[in-house]
């Protein structure tokens, strides 16, 4: 059997097996939107952990974190740091959001805005914005898939057809199984990723250098600059690290897909216990850095864009095809399962907040669930089409996703703590924040002026505008009380 046949065969078996296992675990098909999108708010700590971990640690985290360690050295450490800050904030923030969602029977992030600020229009606006922000994020996962399938095929095949096939399989899976199926698929994904990462971070350094400390000895001797942050006012410097860790830590749970996961929880306490232990799971990123640094020594000279492939290439060149097959399969699930969560979040927001609330097209629970299912397929087709046409430039749009999605944070938090904030204040702040992101993005070739993360600048503008409007024109009505 030829090496590409073995490696790609293992990928196909693992993906097919995961989908089959998850479908078998879902007992009946949901017709109620609450069952379809937030699994009837029934998840305890374990499933919740799978979902939250599943959405945060994607293939991009793994390929990207190794690629960053390879290309930018210590700047990559921010990926390890921001999760911990996200969970410290999340410990207080998630149960509070959950309480509102539970008491008011909410489904999506846009529902939360509609309910708390008493404005259907705000809900529709937020839903539309979030839907469009999700598309480049889904597209990015497709680029990750392509890298993995190309390497697993030993560059012998054009991976485009494979990417399209795998992705459409996932769309049909979400169409059928919804949130509950997603949680089951996450079990296989997390187990396999854990194995692949431990292999890459421990076995590869031991094989080439004897041990992880010995590997760092080599880096200290040859490339010491890659182990500290440069103290200049440039991209990937110390100031960049500080501003980026702050922004990404604050924005950790602001994505619409995170809201779905939060609302699946049975209780606030399950969320609290998750926030305590999740940083420990995040430590597996450490092994990803080891793999990236090992690749830097084993196959030096790759450009920043290509470096995302670095450690999988090491596996391809120096290990048997079946090892490559399992590592690639872990990565492929790491791209597919989070894409499934993104599809579900985007589709539920589109059907509920845009079609139903915005245009009054969809009435009744059964019809709404059907609309969500059809939106899953539509969103998947749209993302795939965008990817086929634009591939490269869309990666730049990711910057807009990360910086943009964080701008929803003030609206989420102020609804909990400051009664003077009205829908106008939130809308003005959001508009100012997004405008700041877009202006700097369009006006400057450098996405990080003076090395400072623009998302953080935009967030500061956003909060300042909300606070000013709330102080001058306080809200007159009040949101429904939460018991």
């Amino acid at each position: 059997m030829s090496p590409p046949f073995v490696a790609l065969g293992i990928v196909a078996l693992v993906v097919g097996g995961t989908v089959a296992f998850a479908l078998a675990s879902v007992k009946r098909l949901a017709t109620d939107p609450h069952e379809y999108v937030v699994a009837g708010r029934s998840f305890g700590a374990f499933f919740l952990w799978l979902l939250l971990a599943g959405e945060i640690y994607t293939a991009f985290t793994f390929l990207g974190a190794a690629g960053w360690a390879y290309s930018f050295g210590a700047a990559s450490f921010y990926i390890l740091a921001y999760g911990a800050i996200g969970y410290v904030i999340g410990y207080f923030f998630l149960p509070a959001i959950w309480k509102v969602g539970h008491a008011r029977n909410l489904l999506t992030a846009a529902d939360y805005f509609r309910d708390r600020y008493g404005s259907r229009k705000l809900g529709v606006t937020i839903g539309t914005l979030q839907f469009f922000m999700l598309i480049p994020y889904v597209t990015l996962q497709l680029t990750g898939l392509q890298i993995l399938l190309t390497i697993a095929g030993y560059d012998a095949y054009n991976a485009t057809a494979g990417v399209a096939l795998a992705f459409l399989l996932m769309a049909v899976f979400v169409f059928t199984a919804g949130m509950r199926g997603l949680a089951w698929a996450s079990i296989a994904k997390d187990a396999l990723i854990l194995l692949a990462v431990l292999f890459a971070g421990l076995v590869i350094p031991a094989h080439f250098f004897g041990s992880v400390p010995a590997m760092f000895d080599r880096i200290v001797a040859h490339r010491p600059q890659s182990l500290v942050l440069p103290t200049t006012w440039t991209n990937h410097s110390l100031i960049w690290y500080v501003s980026t860790v702050l922004l990404t830590g604050i924005g950790f749970f602001t994505g619409p897909q995170n809201m779905n996961a939060i609302l699946t929880s049975r209780s606030g306490d399950a969320l609290r216990r998750n926030a305590i232990w999740m940083p420990v799971y995040g430590l597996i990123l450490l092994f990803v850095f080891f793999a990236g640094f090992a690749a830097l020594l084993v196959i030096p000279g790759m450009k920043p864009g290509e470096a995302d492939q670095s450690f999988v290439l090491v596996v391809q060149r120096y290990y048997p095809p079946w090892v490559l097959g399992f590592v690639a399969a872990a990565g492929v699930l790491g791209a597919l399962v989070p894409s499934a969560a993104l599809l579900l979040a985007g589709a539920s927001t589109f059907a509920k907040n845009v079609l139903a609330d915005g245009f009054g097209f969809v009435k009744g629970d059964r019809e709404q669930t059907t609309a969500m299912r059809l939106s899953v397929i539509a969103l998947a087709a749209l993302a795939l089409l965008l990817w086929l046409v634009y591939k490269k430039t869309l990666v730049d749009l990711l910057l807009f996703y990360y910086n943009g999605i964080t701008q929803f944070m003030p609206g989420l938090v102020f609804a909990l703590v400051w009664k003077r904030v009205s829908k106008y204040a939130v809308a003005a702040g959001l508009a100012a924040g997004l405008l700041t992101v877009v202006t700097i993005f369009v006006e400057h070739a450098d996405p990080t002026p003076y090395g400072i993360n623009i998302g953080l600048l935009a967030l500061a503008v956003n909060v300042a505008v909300v606070a000013t409007v709330a102080t001058i024109w306080p809200r007159r009505d009040a949101a429904p009380e939460i018991p």
């Binding site: 911990a84 410290v88 400390p213 010995a214 942050l229 305590i276 940083p279 430590l283 850095f289």
Partner: protein
């Protein structure tokens, strides 16, 4: 919750973010190596590990207050 417990909760919550954000400019160095890791990476690792420790302490504190 008593004032003391409230203050302790806020202080505990600040430990990990302070290490990971404010502490990093002071930890931005290779030596001394910790278990073979460069100092900066070891520092960030320590900061991340302090998150579950402090959150668990807060969780216990809240539990005792409720009881």
């Amino acid at each position: 919750m008593s004032r003391g417990a409230r203050a302790a909760r806020v202080l505990l919550a600040c430990v990990s973010p302070a290490l990971l954000v404010l502490g990093v400019p002071f930890a931005n160095r290779i030596e001394p190596r910790v278990f073979g890791l460069p100092f900066l990476l070891a520092w960030i690792l320590f900061g991340v590990l302090m998150a579950p420790v402090t959150l668990l302490a807060i969780y216990r504190l809240e539990g005792r207050q409720k009881a």
